[in-house]
Symmetry: C2
Subunit: 414 residues, 2 copies
């Protein structure tokens, strides 16, 4: 793996946020030496009796054993304690029958060590594909992990799941609800192979809300479509993407009921955390030096708007232009053209930030290249395209494509 020497220039200025204790969850993280040495690489979250768990997963047809196992288990009953274990360094993907055995061995060992039904033990693995996971290195550390469980351990846990990430990612929100406050705290890791249908992305969100599994699942599915499924770093989709949310029910607030105001407030809070984490993942995209919001309006349909947004956000020529701080709007026109969406060259409007660069099929009369070039120097770039045809809208977030991406990925396994 190429050494990552420096933190992304787009990392949050304030560093990792102070995440609150979520009543009912304890964390542990330590060095198991799964692949890396000299850093924590395994995290365990122990969840109290009755915790409801929901999740969303990669749609890859070659998904990993751990993802398949989680998908089987999500939606089961919420009786008894639960646990989530994550290792970094090896994704246990495309590892044949041995991969399934590894997941079974780990979940069985956790079940035994913590007294949790095996059907309530969830695991994720991230890292290299196709090499057998040395699961014994993880199970050998279970006693230590158990002894280290601590309700304040979430920030160490967020560090344990990192691979090529240059900073740990966390986000939190509090929601005022009937009878008390609901807290939500989440962590994520990126940072390559990021594309809709998720990414090599692992996301764990913890809340003390009282909420049924089915309602929680509905909300997280809806929020995933508006957040993690709208980001892309390199258009590649991982075999291991997993988002799990665990609700302990320990908040004094009343149980959430679908369609009510408190439920909507919870949803908005959840979505804000997921959006924050999704943006942090993009900002830590391999080699990223610019964060780009791609807005598309005026498409004949939402689906067409998404096609255009995706074509722009995934275009290597657009992304290298952003890297070069070049207001090369011709490449936006190219991306619109190749998207497959209905488009009329002469009704296109393209803006960089508030600067209209092109309209009516040509460069805007008020535009000058210096304005565009100055705008492109910012860290955060907004590219807006109006197709002028209908009311379909979409937004995607991406980063630029730089030498850093090549350096990291041309030498990942060496």
């Amino acid at each position: 793996m190429a050494k990552i020497e420096t933190v992304s220039p787009l990392a949050p200025k304030g560093g990792f946020p102070q995440l609150p204790v979520i009543d009912g969850v304890r964390f542990a993280a330590l060095e198991a030496g799964v692949r890396y040495s000299g850093r924590v690489d395994v995290m365990l979250a122990e969840l109290c009796d009755g915790t409801t768990i929901a999740g969303t997963f990669t749609r890859s047809s070659t998904r990993s054993a751990a993802v398949l196992d989680c998908q089987d288990k999500v939606g089961g009953n919420s009786k008894g304690k639960a646990a989530i274990l994550v290792n970094a360094g090896n994704s246990n993907a495309f590892t044949g029958k041995g991969g399934f055995d590894a997941v079974a061995s780990i979940t069985k060992a956790i079940s035994d060590a913590l007294g949790i039904d095996q059907s309530r033990v969830f695991t994720s693995s991230t890292g290299v594909i196709g090499e057998p996971l040395k699961w014994e290195r993880i199970t050998a550390k279970l006693d230590d992990l158990k002894a280290a469980l601590d309700e304040n351990g979430i920030s160490d846990a967020a560090r344990a799941i990192m691979t090529t990430d240059t900073y740990p990612k966390g986000s939190t929100v509090e929601i005022a609800a009937d009878g008390g406050t609901i807290k939500i705290a989440g962590m994520a890791k990126g940072s390559g192979m990021i594309a809709p249908d998720m990414a090599t992305m692992l996301v764990y969100i913890f809340t003390d809300a009282k909420v049924s599994q089915s309602l929680l699942q509905d909300m997280v599915t809806r929020a995933t479509n508006e957040t993690f499924n709208c980001i892309t770093v390199d258009s590649d989709t991982s075999t291991s993407d997993t988002l799990l949310i665990a609700a302990t029910g320990k908040s004094p607030a009343a149980s959430l009921q679908g369609g009510t105001k408190p439920c909507e407030a919870f949803y908005e809070g959840l979505k804000s955390i997921m959006l924050d984490l999704a943006h942090q993942v993009v900002k830590d995209g391999e080699g990223a030096t610019k964060f780009v919001e791609v807005r598309v309006t005026g498409a004949v349909s939402t689906s067409d708007a998404k096609k255009v947004a995706s074509a722009i956000a995934n275009s290597p020529l657009v992304k290298t232009a952003v890297a070069g701080e070049d207001p090369n709007w011709g490449r936006i026109v190219m991306a619109v053209g190749k998207s497959g969406a209905q488009a009329d060259r002469d009704r296109l409007t393209i803006k960089f930030g508030d600067i209209t660069v092109a309209e009516n099929g040509w460069v805007s009369p008020d535009y000058n290249e210096d304005k565009g070039a100055t705008y492109m120097k910012a860290d955060d770039i907004v590219i807006s395209t109006d197709l002028g045809l209908g009311s379909g809208e979409a937004v995607m977030w991406t980063c630029d494509l730089t030498h850093g991406y090549i350096t990291i990925n041309a030498d990942y396994r060496s």
Copy 2:
């Protein structure tokens, strides 16, 4: 534009081929200073009375004025002389009404200068998008171009159409037919924005065959699908892609008739030139250091096989692994998974060259990393994936993704 200092390491060892005179065609090339200085940037081909012309074009919905004009004209009657004029440096794409006026001005001027019906004058423009084409610089040179017309001028013409190309691209073949020999000679330029539905790619093929326009069009459409529509450099599709073929009918060989042996021989010859030129375009892909053939077999359908081939050939993670000479077959699994095609992890077989790296859902028992790493040092890499599900097959050609691509494209317009 970033300076291209060195010729691609994948350039044909023998240099530009010796192209034959095609009876009925004369070429001229010179410096018009459209954008570049100190190099030829305009080429003119004059085609004799009765030449039939067929073509294939980008499917971009934002295609350039010249492409739209060619599409209008192809298929018209073949009476009188014809001409093809190409300029490099400015693509005249997304230039509003002015773009159409520029095409009309150039074609009118050629019509007047050479005594050719305007409906038989074809043009292409390649280069930067969105800047007005200084067409007067081209028409000012028409007398010089006319004076320079020479049946031996094809190799200079091939140089005049280059943009970021590091070498000119030519190919030729002779076909023995009833009554004599048929010659075909072609030229192409790449080299970024290359993807199915063509690319920033201009291709001009000349033959002395006697052939009807409709038969010629059928053959070139069919051959495009098996050649230029199977290559990708960066998944981006240009607004300007154009392939034109002109048949002068000057060969002593009998007129080609569909379904006959001579016609099939001509088709195979044409396809071989188109494949050669397509490969040369990929080998000159921006920053390319490796040529990659992606073979997919065993898919449930041809369409699924193409999806998988395209997902592999366009994956930045696969392409950076190739750049790093890393036999990272896990990224092939990832690409299969994200392709959207039907796939069963446990029936996948992946080979690098003749080396089976993965089968039955895991690394092959006979595989060792040293074998794979040695293979990846070659300039030409074959990656084969068998899905084990059906008889759908596809092949695509691509190149690696290197620092060179970033360097060229992050600074194209500066």
